[in-house]
């Protein structure tokens, strides 16, 4: 088969009837890659050690056997050329999914993302439909260079989309959407959840739309706005508070750029008290944007200070007592929420 006969067409091979299955967060990512690769021959994956080895975290395990080395490309160790290569491939009609071995190494390919991919459509109307998978976050004692949550760099940069699934279903559904989106999408997956979080994941066309947050838990007194690994922590804290008689809403942002402003403002207006939580460093993080948005557009509805709980402005430390002090978790959310409830 030549490219013209088949590859340019998106072929929905796998529609079938929709069931669901229980998958880990990691399995959900792999399932999404497989589904998209089966469905559309333009989709390919590439990265360091992702083929024969199956990836540093084994996310892509089995893909090279199923799809061959033309579509599962083990690359030289070179993030900048890799992202540029993905951009160039997209100009030839491919839909490349690039794996950064760790989100931390995305800075090595930075120019290709923020200067080229982000601006291209704006400049000469040529879309850059690439997806960059960035395994981020800490809690694994991996130190300053294997634990970063650096999404704010890209949330600030015009022309990119940024997503951060918190559940297996969204890990699946957002990856489908990211791959099909005509824009460069950075997909922050949370290493901490890879094997620790399981959930029901629909089969087939279960896309999570980019740009839509999800209310994970409805409540009246206080809104916790979180994303990625912090959503589970927020839910634990909210459950605990419920036992103490409080009614807490938890909003999972899911997409960090473009933000679901309507959902953010709706929850803020509903409860009047907002606690924003993320694992990334505090200053100029996504939480700052969410807070600013609320302060500007839901000002009259507020019954307390917009509160942020984020990592302090230090690199991610290695030693367990330091990392535990560094990283937000359910207990810290609980304390911050209690304080805000008491305001």
């Amino acid at each position: 088969m030549t490219w013209d006969q088949g590859l340019h067409k998106a072929t929905t091979v796998l529609a079938g009837e929709q069931g669901t299955r229980e998958l880990t967060y990691l399995e959900a990512i792999r399932a999404a890659l497989r589904y998209e690769m089966q469905r559309d021959q333009r989709v390919l994956v590439m990265g360091e050690d992702i083929g024969v080895y199956g990836g540093a975290f084994k996310v892509t395990q089995g893909l090279i056997e199923e799809f061959g080395e033309d579509r599962v490309i083990d690359t030289p160790m070179t993030e900048l050329a890799m992202i540029y290569a993905a951009i160039g491939m997209s100009f030839e009609g491919f839909l490349p999914v690039v794996e950064m071995q760790f989100a931390d190494f995305i800075s090595t390919g930075f120019d290709a993302i923020v200067q080229f991919a982000a601006t291209n459509y704006f400049r000469w109307r040529q879309p850059v439909p690439i997806t960059i998978r960035a395994p981020g976050g800490g809690g694994l004692r991996a130190g300053p260079f294997h634990s970063q949550s650096n999404e704010a760099w890209f949330v600030h940069t015009p022309g990119l989309k940024v997503v951060a699934p918190a559940t297996p279903a969204d890990a699946y559904g957002l990856l489908l959407s990211a791959i099909r989106d005509p824009n460069p999408v950075i997909y922050y997956e949370t290493k901490y959840l890879y094997r620790s979080l399981k959930g029901m994941v629909p089969e087939g066309e279960a896309l999570t739309p980019i740009g839509q947050a999800a209310v994970r838990r409805s409540g009246e007194e206080l809104s916790i706005i979180a994303y990625g690994a912090m959503v589970q922590e927020a839910l634990s804290a909210a459950n605990e508070l419920e036992r103490a008689g409080h009614s807490i809403e938890v909003l999972d942002l899911r997409t960090l750029k473009p933000l679901d402003e309507a959902a953010i403002l709706a929850t803020a207006r509903k409860t009047g008290k907002v606690l924003i939580v993320h694992e990334a460093n505090r200053t100029c993080g996504v939480g700052a944007e969410v807070a600013a948005l609320i302060a500007e557009q839901a000002f009259e509805y507020l019954d307390g200070p917009i509160t942020r709980l984020a990592a302090p402005d230090t690199p991610v430390p290695y030693s367990p007592p330091l990392e535990d002090a560094y990283r937000p978790n359910a207990a810290k959310i609980l304390a911050a929420a209690r304080e805000l409830l008491a305001y």
């Binding site: 900048l80 050329a81 540029y84 290569a85 100009f91 200067q115 080229f116 400049r123």
Partner: protein, 321 residues
């Protein structure tokens, strides 16, 4: 230039003259403050950009940079769209979004619009070549980059990638002696940039970049190698940037003798000498050609100047596809 047939030589002559005339017009329009911001002249690069582009077929792809006006024109980007681009008009290649020669991309013509961050052309073309190879199509991807850009890590990564995957790619290195004010001696410790090709197991060819025929032969051979599965080739074209880095730069740092030496090797003078030797050109024919080109550019400029500026209301429209 013996092996170049008359027709190709005449064709090349037209493109080189058009390139220079359009470039001169750019300078002129900048002096008139019609082009705001910067302007980058390519005077001296006509032979290499036109020859490299002419060695390609219509479905091949190029990633040029800021001194490859000749290549844009040969690939079919019209003076109308280019002038409208320079004047920041909605009818320009980037609809007033990108500046001067930046971003002049149009995949329907096989042209990738460059970004400032040099040498992005080498990176992105690697991906295009990789895509072509995966599709198994007999097409070629060509990029251009400069002697200064050769110091950037990306050039290395791209050449390495192209060689590991044996991609159908041709790398044109425009060694024009300077990167802004920086001379070669401050940019590298080697005499020929092509010496680096061995580090990627690819042929490293050195040609006189001001000799149309020499560049054409070298690029043609490299294009054929790429097309037939032989992998990438690195071609260093020795030339000279005959103007300042950008229009504001009086290039006081360039020794007069060096300029004079290259003035004597002017690519257009050389192709015209050959055409005259073959009896294909005389003063009258040249005058007619130049008049035709000026008329073409007058018309294009009129189009550009009559074109509207982009509507500010559309500012945020085009960020996402």
């Amino acid at each position: 230039m013996n092996e170049i047939d008359d027709e190709l030589l005449q064709q090349a002559h037209y493109w080189m003259r058009l390139t220079r005339a359009l470039d001169d017009r750019g300078t002129f329009l900048h002096k008139q403050s019609k082009i705001v911001g910067g302007y980058f002249s390519q005077i001296g690069h006509e032979a290499l950009s036109v020859a490299a582009a002419l060695s390609l077929g219509p479905k091949d792809i190029i990633a040029p940079m800021h001194r490859d006006l000749g290549a844009y024109l040969v690939r079919g980007l019209t003076p109308r769209r280019i002038l409208a681009q320079w004047l920041g008009r909605e009818t320009g290649v980037t609809r007033g979004r990108d500046a001067n020669l930046h971003g002049m991309g149009d995949l329907s013509l096989g042209i990738i619009g460059f970004i400032s961050h040099l040498p992005a052309s080498t990176g992105v073309i690697t991906g295009v070549a990789h895509g072509i190879k995966l599709k198994g199509e007999p097409r070629v991807a060509m990029c251009f980059f400069g002697d200064g850009s050769a110091s950037q890590g990306l050039a290395h990564e791209a050449m390495n990638w192209a060689s590991v995957f044996k991609l159908p790619m041709v790398i044109i290195c425009e060694n024009n002696q300077y990167a802004y004010s920086t001379p070669l001696s401050r940019q590298m410790a080697i005499e020929h940039i092509a010496q680096r090709a061995a580090g990627y197991n690819m042929p490293g060819v050195i040609v006189d970049g001001n000799d149309f025929a020499a560049v054409y032969h070298a690029t043609k051979e490299a294009v054929e190698r790429a097309r037939s599965g032989g992998g990438p080739t690195f071609i260093e074209c020795k030339t000279m940037r005959m103007r300042g880095h950008a229009i504001h730069d009086n290039m006081a740092y360039v020794p007069k003798e060096l300029l004079a030496e290259w003035e004597a090797r002017d690519p257009i003078a050389r192709i015209e000498a050959e055409l005259r030797a073959r009896g294909l050109l005389d003063d009258a024919k040249l005058a007619a050609l130049l008049a035709r080109i000026e008329a073409e550019l007058d018309e294009a400029q009129a189009f550009a100047e009559a074109s509207p500026y982009p509507d500010p209301a559309t500012l945020t429209d085009g960020v996402y596809a």
